[in-house]
Amino acid sequence: MRQVLVDRLALAAVALTLWVALELRLGPDILPGPLETGLRLLGLLADPAFQDEIASTLGAFALAALLAASLGLMLGAALGTLPRTSDLLEPFLVGFYALPKVTLYPTVLLLLGVGLDAKVAFGALHGIVPVALFTAGGIRGLPPILAKSARTLGLARVATVTRVLLPAALPEILAGLRIGLALTLLGTLIGEMFAARSGLGSVLMRAIPRLDNATVLSVTILFLAGALLVDWTLERATRRSAAGR
């Protein structure tokens, strides 16, 4: 545990050194240094208008994550238990997963309009497929004896899925959520960058033409922190769920 901490501090020190070296090479107008960026970030965090932007992004991400997780789980459970459906659908899902989702954004906008719904939908769109594929794979990999014994204990089909198959596949499901929710965060940001009037993505898009690079970097750091937090939470949950097995 302590070793990990030392390694992380060393990594942070290397990153900061590189950052300063780049700042010296490129000049502070193009790449503001850690000090300037840190001060800007603190200033922004204290600004109520900026706090609203954060709240808008967080709200959209929470909703998108909820959608991605619940729809992904349901789709994954269906694919994992119905082999014919999954033979039919999985090639399409894998194709969709590989597709740059930006190409779909005009369609999403057309369907939902510019605003909260579009960026939520766009965020969720990024997360559903990995959650579904991991869930389906996790269920298919389970020993058949689990479902068989559940049937002899009087569980109907749906109860077998919710009470036995999903809990049994939990480690794989959490691994899917870890990837899916990171992509959902990314999707939410991209959604905001292209068409939203509020949120960190739109802050970014307004800062870029102004060459306000300190703000651009501040938002990037906030996003990185958010992504790391999501990842860390799910990584811990994965480890805890696998601990007893």
């Binding site: 020993p143 004896i145 689990l146 068989k148 014994s149 049937r151 002899t152 204990l153 009087g154 569980l155 109860a159 036995v164 809990p167 049994a168 939990l170 769920s241 007893g244 097995r245």
Partner: protein, 267 residues
């Protein structure tokens, strides 16, 4: 009296898959289990014993024939009142020992206190008291199998199908678990069908022993042991036990050789 469990003309042929030919795994066979008896089914490995159990429990559709439990046809689902203990470990790794054992009971809408009481008693009976809060991964294979046996028995089935339940246990624990099973059987008055490859186990525990042929398994012989219902592993030293085991082996040896692909004259 009507049979508790009846199989009529039951056969199973597993369909061809890929390049492999269809596999005739079982039968056709007829089988009658009497209410309240302790019946063992012995056969060489691969002769279709587990397939027979799956069909009797409504988990697998037979290719031919029909199954009835308490006079009703078994089809597509395990009827209430019929409990199954599988050959493989079927404990749920995300639940503790006591949660595993209470799993089937909780689905029945029993009051929480009644569930807790019954689970506690089953844990004590199976010698798992020190492990009530442990997870299956922390237990030995034999202990996990005891969890599965308890999970089925707490639901108080009227007929229990057990598929080589003691295969993962060492010889002494096997004998003790056999005695426990006999006590449970006498106390609960349930019907027991024990699938085993152990002649000694069958000879010691059962009222009747059915012998199966090599695959596709058929019933080749039925033997009544004549034991009183008050019996235990003390019978091991009884000369009648040795004679019984000898008779079973005489009938089964040719089938066991056939299952291994050895000639009938092989020594």
């Amino acid at each position: 009296m009507e049979a508790h469990l009846r199989l009529e003309g039951v056969a199973k042929v597993f369909a061809a898959s890929g390049r492999s030919a269809p596999v005739p795994a079982l039968g056709p066979l007829d089988l009658e289990v009497r209410r309240g008896e302790f019946l063992s089914i012995v056969g060489p490995s691969g002769c279709g014993k587990s397939t027979l159990l799956d069909i009797a429990a409504g988990l697998l559709a037979p290719s031919a024939g029909r199954v009835s439990f308490e006079g009703r046809e078994v089809r597509g689902a395990t009827p209430p009142g019929l409990g199954v203990v599988f050959q493989q470990d079927a404990s749920y790794p995300w639940l503790t020992v006591s949660e595993n054992i209470g799993f089937g009971l909780r689905r029945r809408g029993l009051p929480a206190q009644a569930v807790a009481d019954r689970v506690e008693e089953a844990i004590r009976l199976m010698g798992l008291s020190a492990f009530a809060r442990a997870y299956p991964a922390q237990l030995s294979g034999g202990m996990r199998q005891r969890v599965c046996i308890a999970r089925t028995l707490v639901t108080e089935p009227r007929l229990v199908l057990l598929d080589e339940p003691f295969a993962a246990l060492d010889a002494q624990t096997r004998l003790l678990m056999g005695d426990e099973l006999l006590k449970l059987w006498r106390r609960a008055g349930a019907t027991i069908v024990l699938i085993t490859h152990s002649l000694e186990e069958a000879a010691l525990l059962s009222d009747r022993v059915l012998l199966m042929s090599a695959r596709p398994g058929r019933i080749i012989e039925t033997l009544a042991t004549g034991w009183p219902s008050e019996r235990s592993s003390d019978l091991l030293t009884d000369p009648r036990f040795a004679a019984l085991t000898q008779r079973l082996w005489t009938a089964l040896a040719p089938e066991a050789r056939r299952a291994l692909g050895l000639g009938s004259e092989a020594a």
